[in-house]
Assembly symmetry: C2
Homo-oligomer: 457 residues x 2
């Protein structure tokens, strides 16, 4: 006998949690499609040679390699590896199918990715990423950078996770600002940005002390200006624009960053995103080196401890390893597994009611054909229905429906048959009513639609 | 520069094909949910020790093992392996979560599985399986066996792949029949069944010759009875019942099989499945040893060369490797990747229109805010809309929409703005009309719903 278990670092859910998770993915997918993004799926494994284009690095340490039994016995290097994000597969996909795609290419991809993380709470070896990207050929207007936060806004509004703020910054603006302070050299600038990234964790005083300490040796007034800069959070649309104006024009890089961020913010407003839901935040740099313009993070106002729930940005060239074409792009990613896990931990999400709307109970064995016919009518009306196929005690049938989270139980026994009615028990409202057999599907359809319209899922 | 490519044996689709494939999966999922099945997802990899319970066998030769970089360097045996079907993960899941599940447990699972196949046309190393199973605790009524073909019927009707026939048989009936002919020993019976399974490929005469030849040495009259038996295909509901009656009661095993198959067929009718869409076929045995009662195959009437598109059956005990509980079950599986590939080859399916319903064109740069507002209204009405963010030539915008398979292009220029109307080009119907700007979303909503109602997808 083998003990049934999964490897640590994977999220496996019981059905009611799986239903809640599936609804989250459905909301994300529906909104991605609403904004005109096209579905792409790539194989879970890529050729190792294609996937691992960079030399070494943290990510490669975490790659899972794949070998079939035969290849394992021959002892060769693994030919295949599991994707560790959706960006490298996108780059490979766009380069490979370049001549069959229409640009700007707008794709969404909702698939699992794999990282050989050490087993640790909250660290996942397998998790969903939900990405959108717009890829241009040769050029891509900064206007597309303004589409991303509009999509984020639509997704998180519908997810119903409370107030959130989409925080915006621009790498050119950051670069120009530091150049203006004489911190122009790339490596040194990166080190300063890395310190600033610790602002939330270490606090302003500690970060300031580091910047003026012996490692960095910045003058007090420079440190003051940096600290004031990175603590900027705009409080309204007008304030965001005023904060940008206050930076002046400075050098060309700063001016370019300011102009881009201004255009993004203006277009956000034009798309109807409420000004309470976005802000400029000059401390956001995003860890990845590869962002070059707009960058995004999204935080839940009442749950800052969760950190960013949706991040991304603009990059100069998606697929330089695979093609000579210049493919600039902008994209965002939602880590759905981690998000679901954390929303559940924070008590924001709980297991859903069943995806089964109705259980047709079985009062006596001879009426199974009636049960099946009732279920057929319900299904025809778009209602998810399950039939009790075996004549168990009614109490047991109710117990089953209750445990499974099914809202309605329908009963059709001798008494009901004599009067051509059906008894409906609403386990959620804890009430019971009768309805003409021919009206059952229509009546329940209305009940279920009302529930959905009220945001109950 | 690395050549962008995938490993052989995977199906990667361009967006319009991906949309068509996604719609196929959606139809399958929707119908699975309609019949009250609950979603389950399991990790792509299982612990090797848990996954590989059997000793050797063809399947284990094809397993993909997974190792992180670190583990690979240490040279140990791979701890993880990719699932090769959804049945072993289901067994592990049910055994592991037994006390949290309500039985009978009805689950659906739509995920990819992995097999280390040799590279060969039509052989997939990664492919989708779409499974449903009902798992009982201790016992499970044969009535659940009748639910499977009802689900198959609902799925394939909605997929719109032409006429199909759900073929039914019963392993007890088969076993009883062969026992009645004196072919009672298990191994010998299996060999005979394997020969019969070649009926379609080798033809009746060749199979008969083998059975009467020196390997089997069956008497002519026995071979005649076998050949007559396995060529039975019922032509109607009444004919199916008559074919069962004609078998007589024989031994207890035969009688049990006949009674089960009769109940399944009667309940199929009670569920409203048309009698043209199912038939008994006494030649169906299913390769897997583990089916013990009802077995199913589904064939497309006009495309017999595709073989069975949905198969399954009843098994005695799902998870004997993981739990002492007896868990009988019944299930079916659709291999969606292979099905999609073959339907496309047969010309039954082609790439869908885009999932984007509308492209909002940009006639002049100053009207971008109007474009965004129009898109917002369309999206609010549940219409998938994309905005041309850059002011390219109109001809280029149309070319893009056409290539992408977008049906409607909406234009709002100076002339339209003066009259508060919007010009709509229907690229599919090749016609153009004007509509008041405020009525646009409602008008297109109606058009799109009509299209969907007419089965156009």
């Amino acid at each position: 006998m083998i003990k049934p278990r999964t490897t640590p670092g994977v999220m496996e859910l019981l059905p009611r949690d799986q239903i809640a998770f599936q609804r989250m993915l459905d909301v994300i997918r529906r909104n991605y499609e609403r904004f005109g993004f096209l579905p792409v799926e790539t194989p879970v494994f890529e050729l190792s040679e294609v996937l691992l284009t960079k030399t070494g690095g943290e990510t490669e340490r975490q790659v899972y390699f794949v070998q079939s039994t035969g290849a394992l016995e021959q002892g060769g290097q693994p030919e295949l590896a599991l994707r560790f994000d959706l960006t490298v597969p996108l780059a490979r996909y766009v380069a490979q199918h370049e001549h069959d795609l229409a640009f700007p290419f707008r794709r969404y991809q909702i698939q699992r990715v794999y990282r050989g993380e050490r087993a640790q709470r909250g660290r996942f070896r397998e998790f969903y990423q939900c990405d959108i990207d717009v890829i241009g050929k040769d050029t891509l207007s900064v206007r597309h950078d303004a589409e991303m936060p509009a999509v984020i806004h639509a997704v998180f509004s519908e997810l119903g996770v409370g107030d959130f703020t989409i925080q915006l910054n621009n790498r050119k603006l950051l670069r120009g600002f530091f150049e203006g302070l004489g911190i122009a050299e790339g490596e040194r600038q990166a080190l300063v940005l890395r310190e600033i990234d610790k602002l939330d964790k270490r606090g302003a005083d500690a970060v300031r002390a580091t910047l003026t300490g012996q490692d960095f040796g910045l003058a007090d007034d420079v440190a003051d200006r940096i600290m004031a800069f990175v603590q900027v959070r705009s409080t309204s649309h007008a304030d965001a624009l005023a904060r940008l104006d206050a930076l002046g024009t400075g050098n060309a890089t700063l001016a370019e960053g300011v102009a881009e961020l201004r255009e993004v913010i203006e277009l956000l407003k034009a798309q109807g995103v409420p000004e309470t839901d976005y802000a400029v935040n000059f401390s956001i740099a995003r860890g990845l080196d590869y962002y070059t313009g707009t960058v995004y993070e999204t935080t839940l106002d009442e749950h800052p401890q969760i950190g960013s729930v949706c991040s991304g940005g603009r990059y100069e060239n998606l697929a330089s390893h695979y093609t000579k074409s210049r493919l600039p792009g902008v994209g965002i990613s939602i880590g759905a597994t981690r998000l679901f896990f954390q929303l559940r931990e924070a008590g924001i999400l709980s297991g859903a009611e069943s995806s089964v709307d109705v259980m047709v109970g079985l009062m006596d064995e001879e009426r199974l054909a009636d049960s099946l016919d009732i279920a057929r009518q319900l299904r025809g009306a778009g209602i998810n229905a399950e039939v009790q196929m075996e004549g168990k005690k009614l109490a047991k049938q109710f117990q089953y429906a209750d445990k499974a989270g099914i809202r309605f139980v329908v009963l059709y026994g001798e008494d009901e048959a004599a009067r051509s009615v059906v008894t409906v028990k609403d386990l959620r409202a804890k009430e019971q009513f009768e309805v003409a057999r021919d009206d059952l599907a229509r009546t329940l359809r209305v009940e279920i639609e009302q529930q959905r319209a009220m945001g109950g899922v």
